[in-house]
């Protein structure tokens, strides 16, 4: 038993060190910032505009790319096809790429000379130094979080329930929306939130696509470069607090929405 206790102590110590490593810098940042600094930064229109802009672009990017990402996740969970492993590798690629390298790759694609950028320019849309370009940079690096979480969710849905729905007369699209998606809902929402969170915190890829309009991570970097640590610190705290608030809010809303959806379904009868 003594050995067992020693084992517990060693593991508890190691775990505490890791937690401390995460908490200490954040706590230090909070402790070293005065309320006056916070008040001034919070009332700076450039900061507030940047924070809201970041949230809006990250949310929009997640929402729009989910339209394709969720079906891709379903295909990865349910279908067998040649080179499936290669496709999975492509999905995971943004996670292992250096984000600045991802930004450079995207810039070539989105600039006026690029494939998409050139086509967009003909339609009068500029993708570089623009919200659309920022959204794509955010999505590029964060899509694997949504696709992989949703894929795991769909894979965990018992295939028999989908077959049973087919036997009861449902079309494939009805099966997807009434059987597969509701059962994989938690994983899809979890992936959605992870993609949103990862997207709004992206700096490396975004800064190459668009320094302006400034999203919060770029603004924090800009404040640090221009005015130093004391100016960047309150902006960082505000961004962290707002991001945390929305992170929690989306989780709560997603759970609520799922329950409301179920109650509405009951009420139709």
């Amino acid at each position: 038993m003594k050995g067992h206790t020693l084992f517990n102590w060693i593991f508890a110590l190691l775990a505490s060190l890791v937690l401390l490593f995460i908490i200490a810098p954040l706590a230090g940042m909070f402790l070293q910032t005065t309320t006056e600094e916070m008040r001034i930064t919070a009332s700076d229109p450039a900061v507030t505009r940047s924070v809201w802009y970041t949230l809006a672009i990250a949310f929009t990017a997640t929402l729009l790319f989910a339209i394709g990402a969720v079906p891709l996740a379903w295909i990865m969970a349910r279908r067998k096809f040649p080179l499936k492993n290669v496709v999975q590798g492509i999905i995971d690629l943004p996670v292992v790429l250096p984000h600045t390298a991802a930004g450079i790759a995207l810039l070539g694609f989105l600039s006026r000379d690029g494939l998409l950028g050139g086509a967009a320019q003909k339609a009068g849309i500029l993708l570089v130094n623009n919200g659309a370009g920022i959204a794509m940079a955010m999505a590029f690096v964060s899509l694997p979080f949504l696709i992989n979480a949703a894929r795991d969710g769909f894979a965990a849905v018992p295939e028999r329930t989908e077959k049973a729905a087919l036997m009861l007369g449902a079309t494939p699209s009805r099966i997807f929306f009434t059987i597969s998606l509701p059962q994989a809902w938690r994983s899809v929402v979890s992936g959605f939130i992870m993609m949103f969170a990862r997207g709004m915190s992206e700096f490396g890829a975004v800064v190459i696509i668009a320094y302006h309009p400034m999203i919060a991570p770029v603004l924090i970097y800009d404040r640090f470069n221009t005015y130093g640590l004391s100016s960047a610190r309150p902006a960082s705290i505000i961004f962290i607090l707002v991001a945390l608030f929305f992170f929690v809010l989306f989780r709560v809303l997603a759970t609520e929405r799922h329950q409301i959806f179920r109650r509405e379904d009951d009420a139709t009868d």
Partner: protein, 358 residues
């Protein structure tokens, strides 16, 4: 004819369904009996269209449905694991196919209510499947399929998730459904289920239907050792038949000699002997039509009726004796005894059995 399959073939990963031809008449209760891995579930999935066959045809009420969409076949299937929708209440599970049929709300509600009452689950409608027992889940799955009014109902091991104590009530319910005109194809590995429910039985083995008929026909005249085993028969003897003037006899592969009644015998074949027809004694039995075989008791095992005694007489014989008989005779392992049975208790089973399978 309600359902007919014509030489259905399907190659799966490590297994093949071969030339499956079966006929199910309207109102039949057809039981497909076989061990797990025999291909029963795969056959059901072919019939209902979840898997396309490589060859062959499926005819339902005279119409070739082999390439028809699953949703349009009019076949109901209840899966072995029931596949209830866990995120729906019982009511929504049963309502699901009715919503697809776009029935008016009132009719939907009426049908759900009727099905729930018929299946005795009216008080469970607001519950989620996770809060139901195995028997209740089974009833919900049946109700959900029956509201679609299928032409034919396919059941994959319907007793698998039901407690032994509830099996009788499910059996009664299935019999009632069938009496009310529902044609049923029921897949099981349980001989008792087949006997108690089937109007016709098909025995499946290694992707083939090896015997088909009424339960009486199949189990009193098993086509081979596999079917005989399903009927609970353990005494099997591969023998060479001998006729000398008007005396008929045979010699088993282990050199045991049996007298046989007059009959038409092939040169060799498989004989079966029901354990209940075997008498065990120390002095043997008298009579011209009696075989007396000397052997030694090898094993004594308790059985539902008393004991099953294994006697080694070159061949192994299995005899059932009652508890009272055991109390009187006090047989012990290693004791010499005589096995007696009437010559007409020996039955020759059909040809075509592949010896390597057993």
């Amino acid at each position: 004819m309600m359902l007919r399959t014509e030489r259905l073939c399907k190659r799966l990963d490590s297994f093949q369904l071969q030339e499956i031809s079966l006929e199910v008449s309207r109102g039949d209760y057809y039981v497909l009996l076989g061990r797990s891995g025999a291909g029963k579930t795969q056959l059901l999935e072919l019939i209902c269209g979840l898997t396309p066959p490589d060859k062959g045809k499926i005819i339902l009420e005279g119409e070739d449905i082999t390439r028809k969409r699953v949703q349009d076949r009019g076949i109901g299937l209840v899966f072995q694991d029931l596949a209830l929708f866990p995120h729906f209440s019982v009511k929504d599970n049963i309502m699901y196919p009715l919503r697809i049929m776009k029935l008016p709300l009132k009719e939907r509600v009426d049908r759900v209510q009727r099905a729930a009452e018929e299946m005795n689950i009216a008080d469970l409608l607001l519950r989620k499947p996770e809060n139901l027992s195995g028997g209740e889940k089974q009833r919900v799955a049946l109700a959900r399929t029956l509201v679609t009014q299928p032409k034919i109902l396919l059941l994959d091991e319907p007793m698998a998730s039901v407690d032994a104590s509830l099996k009788d009530s499910i059996r009664r319910m299935l019999r009632r459904l069938n009496r009310n005109g529902q044609t049923i194809v029921h897949v099981t590995h349980d001989f008792g289920e087949a006997i108690s429910l089937a109007s016709r039985v098909g025995v499946m083995h290694n992707g083939r239907i090896i015997q088909e008929g009424t339960p009486g026909e199949v189990f009193t005249h098993p086509a081979n050792r596999f079917v005989a085993r399903y009927a609970g028969i353990k005494n099997f003897f591969r023998a060479t038949f001998v006729r000398s003037y008007n005396r008929f006899s045979c010699i088993t592969d282990n050199r045991t000699e049996f007298k046989l009644p007059k009959g038409d015998y092939p040169s060799s074949g498989l004989l079966i002997l029901a354990a209940a027809d075997v008498l065990l004694s120390r002095q043997g039995a008298a009579g011209v039509q009696i075989n007396n075989i000397h052997g030694v008791i090898e094993d004594i095992v308790p059985s539902p009726i008393g004991y099953e005694i294994t006697v080694n007489a070159g061949d192994h014989f299995f005899a059932d004796i009652t508890r009272r008989e055991m109390d009187d005779q006090k047989y012990v392992a290693g004791e010499p005894v005589i096995i007696s049975f009437r010559t007409d208790s020996l039955k020759l089973v059909g040809e075509g059995e592949e010896k390597k399978e057993y």
